[in-house]
Symmetry: C2
Subunit: 353 residues, 2 copies
Amino acid sequence: MKQSGASASSATFLNSSLLDAAQGRVPARQPVWIMRQAGRYLADYRRVRSLFPSFMDFCRSPEHVAEVTVQPVDQVGVDAAILFSDILVLLPPMGLQVDFKEGKGPVIANPLRDDAVIAALPEGNLNSELGYVFEGIRLTKKALGNRVPLIGFAGGPFTVASYMVEGGSSKELAKLKALMFSRPEVFTTLIGKLASVTAAYLCEQARQGADVITIMDSWAGYLGPNVYRDLVLPHTKRIIAAVKAEFPHVPVVHYANGAPHLLPHFATLGADVLGLDWRVNLGDALRAYPKQVFQGNLDPCNLYASPDQIRAKVKALKAEVGGRAHVYNLGHGILPDISPDHARAFVDAVHEE
Amino acid sequence: MKQSGASASSATFLNSSLLDAAQGRVPARQPVWIMRQAGRYLADYRRVRSLFPSFMDFCRSPEHVAEVTVQPVDQVGVDAAILFSDILVLLPPMGLQVDFKEGKGPVIANPLRDDAVIAALPEGNLNSELGYVFEGIRLTKKALGNRVPLIGFAGGPFTVASYMVEGGSSKELAKLKALMFSRPEVFTTLIGKLASVTAAYLCEQARQGADVITIMDSWAGYLGPNVYRDLVLPHTKRIIAAVKAEFPHVPVVHYANGAPHLLPHFATLGADVLGLDWRVNLGDALRAYPKQVFQGNLDPCNLYASPDQIRAKVKALKAEVGGRAHVYNLGHGILPDISPDHARAFVDAVHEE
């Protein structure tokens, strides 16, 4: 159990506000970052993206990963970088071919349709096939220097399982739920394997220099509370426990979209920070969980409004947060047609006195 | 203010369990119906549907509307019929052309992109252009005789506005929210007009014989609680008040998908019944609202499980409901690839002692 120097201490950084807030200390200036901040709304991102015909090839190029990961720190003024990558990088090491079709999202050539295939999936440490991610982390850390921390991430095991079973994005998650409701033991085999692969993957990210770990269980909100509690929660909990056992000082952020009804369960996960989307009234959540640090939760569509209107919304959020440690963010990823000026207005409004 | 005879009394029906439960009386046998019960999972529906190249032409044929509306009463054993129609029938009378593309959902040729166009939209009573719906109600009432009540419906004003502005289905409702967040007064003009058109439309449905009125504000859950409260709730409330003023004995059901966070607001709408999706723990909702009748809330994907597993889920739901009046239903529409046998297993399980 060795802790990497890079992730040990907030004193390492010129701007340690994210680490401070994530560990419950109220920094002088509260931190803000933006989900999908290294993304299509930035012209420089689009330029780098255009060098690669395939999205996965882009993810597999550590130099370009480092370049786009640092862009929003320089251009938008966020208080953390988040590694540019995708939650589906775990699929090829598990034997599933994934491709990103323009305008269609990810397409898996061989989705899981057979219980025997699920039983035969590999588990545990598959990091040897993910060297390009870790090289991306090392290069990004070099490029960032001691400016701001780097956030590493993986998909939550339910969300990754959804792509593996559905074969791509899905409106209802009908195939995955059919499996969960009719053969829960087969689903448990799948999510158990994913949990072990994800835990090993996230620990290696921290070992290579990720200062914060985020688990994006974006689609967990599709589940009712009892199903989530019985079939998903124990596995996410196990991932978080594995990271915290080896890297107790690396904050873990858990995020799910559209899941206000699961907040009582998320609060038991052992995460340092819980990401909220805009469906949750932040003031209510802060009152209900007096010791929990939250992240969020501006509706990404608020960034379509004018900079003045954005400032007013942020001011209202700040009034709700009061003196608590908080990680400001959108409630979901920034949309590709948002003006970078509006993203900056959001970040600046958080930083304003 | 004249009340139609058909909707006056539960004594009119051989099976009045829906009216009883919706009015808070516990019927001997609790009622069940299924959202989208006149739908593609039934072979006889698909046969009738195939007679029409266009979905809207199908909706405009009262004889065929009556035929498919009655099918699930005969074939699945539900305790109510719901008029086969679409929430977007209001668009042509308001000047928007709507077409249903196979596999793409509705496509609006002239979505609202201009504040002046919104200002010029008609409002109030547009029922003269909706005669085919009312003829469908009259024919269905004849076909049903006194067996079970007929549910009429309209879309909630937020959901209908979303199609008018987005031009079709949308993952983020980004255009609508951009309007709401940047020019709330223009959005208010739009939803206000929709509310007046919808109120007149639903009153005419009750006048023509609809025994229950449902408002499907399916996408309301995309909004945060404060935005919903400020910009949507007053308009939905006004629709419900208009129906109740003229038809006090016609129960009004309000339904939204993915909106557990809005339940405190829905409880103030004045609806007799609140539809819940599976994200809400039914037991918790019943305890939190001791006098409210709810509808729901089985996950539609539960119908992929075996009939024995379906019976076990329904048994658990019934245990939560206890002695309360309740309208059993799925938490969202039945999926097209569900076996009718499984739909019947659901209905039978509700009816079992």
